[in-house]
């Protein structure tokens, strides 16, 4: 991950290795610890687990209405999904990070065309409304725009990978406006 020097007085999420946070979450899950809080380098982290045993999936709303139920996840690769989603749900609890999620079940594309450069890379600073990726479902191309300005500190998925409804795609550290 690209490490950027934090500006004075500003806590940097980059000071936290997100892999460490994932490990931490795994530990909390393993020990069945419900809530956890700590402070380091001026950044406070609080992790609170839901009551449902399956972390990630439980947060998805029980789909709008039955007739519009999103398609069932694909049989094969989905097996790996819960742990992945679980970890990213955990990352969400990192205060100050904004998580961009997928609005539909589909395929994640990092660029507009196969040979084109990706819309964003780790460490990029994005603006509100800037396109981060495309999620495709049944030839419906959904350009996901950033709803915050800030730095892309984590990309949870890879080009061409299937994604679930509500699955975390990016973590963005919002840039603070000067008062």
């Amino acid at each position: 991950m690209a490490q950027k020097t934090p500006r004075a007085g500003e806590a940097s999420a980059a000071a936290w290795d997100l892999r460490e946070i994932r490990k931490l979450i795994d530990l909390l899950v393993e020990r069945e610890i419900g809530e956890f809080e700590m402070e380091k380098d001026g950044l406070r982290i609080r992790i609170k687990r839901g009551e449902a045993p399956s972390l990630g999936v439980s947060t998805a709303p029980a789909a709008s209405s039955p007739v519009f139920a999103p398609p069932a996840p694909p049989a094969g690769p989905a097996a790996a999904a819960p742990s992945r989603a679980g970890a990213s749900e955990g990352a969400e609890a990192v205060e100050g990070l904004h998580i961009v999620k997928s609005p539909i079940v589909g395929t994640f594309y990092a660029s507009a065309a196969p040979n084109a450069p990706p819309f964003v890379k780790l460490g990029d600073v994005v603006q509100v409304g800037q396109v981060l990726c495309i999620i495709e479902a049944m030839k419906l191309m959904n350009e996901i725009e950033s709803d915050v300005a800030g730095e892309v500190v984590r990309i949870y998925v890879e080009n061409g990978q299937p994604v679930e409804y509500g699955q975390s795609l990016f973590a963005i550290k919002p840039s603070h406006k000067k008062p």
Partner: protein, 329 residues
């Protein structure tokens, strides 16, 4: 975004259509539209270049030889009720991509049901920026802006909806019974007649706008060599030139009908209609190409959501929501 077609040209077309049986004197045309007689003359020339059959000259007056096959707003909007798809039309003689224009208009607050049309696209495109051949006035190059009261997760069914609407419009106006390749390509004898590119602007639980781009090859007499084996046109299939206007109006009417069905009864009814007209719905041997690789399968029908059920050759069954489908013969 280029400037939309001058509304006064639209007025000129409307005037000539309204008075199709008589010669309209040049000065009268100029007065009604509010321009000089020489401007009228230059517009008439422009329309002639676009294939509109206008007889006469400035001194004698103008008369339409036959109804023009130009997709002018004044010939389309009156066909549709307020708020329905087609009630508002923005027309370009030439533009980059009607989908891009529709999103631009959407960001400026254009209403649900706005239709963007172009006689010619210079950057017509499909998925992943693939080019869509958009020869001047030969095809229908349209983008429909929708603001559906649906969650984003339900929006993919709009692509199947567009495909059945295009299927029905082509069939009812030309008699051509096209197949639909999942999810939304119209094919005749395996070659593409109509392509659909749907793009959505949404957040996790809030859908702002959907633009459905529909390109139909109508009167192309010849396609570029590299497209000949994969694309076709209504003319190439029927041997007859077809007026584009009635096909477009039929398309927009079918879209409205299926859109209302989708909102009232859900996507299942769209999936049923889709399965009734597509050979890809059931028992088709296909190859699936996706970001994760390729595999062969047999189709087992559609989910109510529109996802395609398949059985892989290794026996596993699954529902496809993405990927490229190719028929295996």
């Amino acid at each position: 975004m280029p400037r939309a077609t001058d509304q006064r040209i639209d007025k000129l077309i409307h005037l000539l259509v309204k008075n199709a049986t008589v010669v309209v004197p040049g000065p009268k045309v100029a007065e009604e539209i509010g321009v000089t007689r020489s401007a009228v003359w230059s517009w008439v020339e422009k329309l002639r270049q676009m294939g509109v059959d206008i007889k006469g000259h400035p001194a004698a007056g103008y008369q339409l030889g036959k109804l023009p096959d130009i997709l002018a707003p004044s010939l389309i909007e009156p066909e549709f009720s307020q708020g329905h798809i087609g009630h508002k039309v923005v027309h370009y003689l030439k533009t980059g991509s009607t989908n891009d224009d529709a999103f631009e208009l959407a960001s400026q607050g254009a209403p649900h049901g706005t239709v963007v049309l172009a006689e010619e696209q210079t950057a017509g495109r499909g998925r992943f920026g693939r080019a869509w051949h958009s020869e001047r006035s030969s095809g229908i190059y349209s983008s429909i802006l929708l603001r559906p009261p649906l969650p984003p997760s339900a929006a993919p069914a709009l692509t199947l909806m567009a495909a059945v609407a295009a299927h029905d419009a082509v069939e009812s106006s030309t008699g051509l019974d096209a197949d639909i390749r999942w999810p939304n390509d119209l094919l005749v004898a395996g070659r593409k007649l109509c392509g659909i590119l749907t793009e959505m602007n949404a957040e996790v639980d809030c859908l702002h706008a959907v633009v459905i781009g529909i390109g139909i090859n109508v009167n192309h007499r010849q396609l570029p060599p590299k497209l000949r084996t994969i694309a076709t046109s209504i003319y190439l299939e029927t041997g007859k030139l077809q007026a584009r206007l009635p096909i477009l109006i039929s398309l927009l009417k079918h879209l409205e009908t299926y859109y209302q069905l989708l909102l009232q009864q859900g996507s299942g009814v769209i999936a049923e209609r889709w399965a009734a007209v597509s050979s890809y719905a059931c028992g088709k041997r296909i190859r699936v190409v996706s970001g994760e690789g390729e595999f062969c399968a047999v189709t087992l029908g559609l989910e109510p959501s529109g996802a395609l059920r398949v059985r892989r050759d290794d026996g596993r069954e699954e529902s496809l929501v993405a990927g490229e489908i190719v028929e295996v013969k």
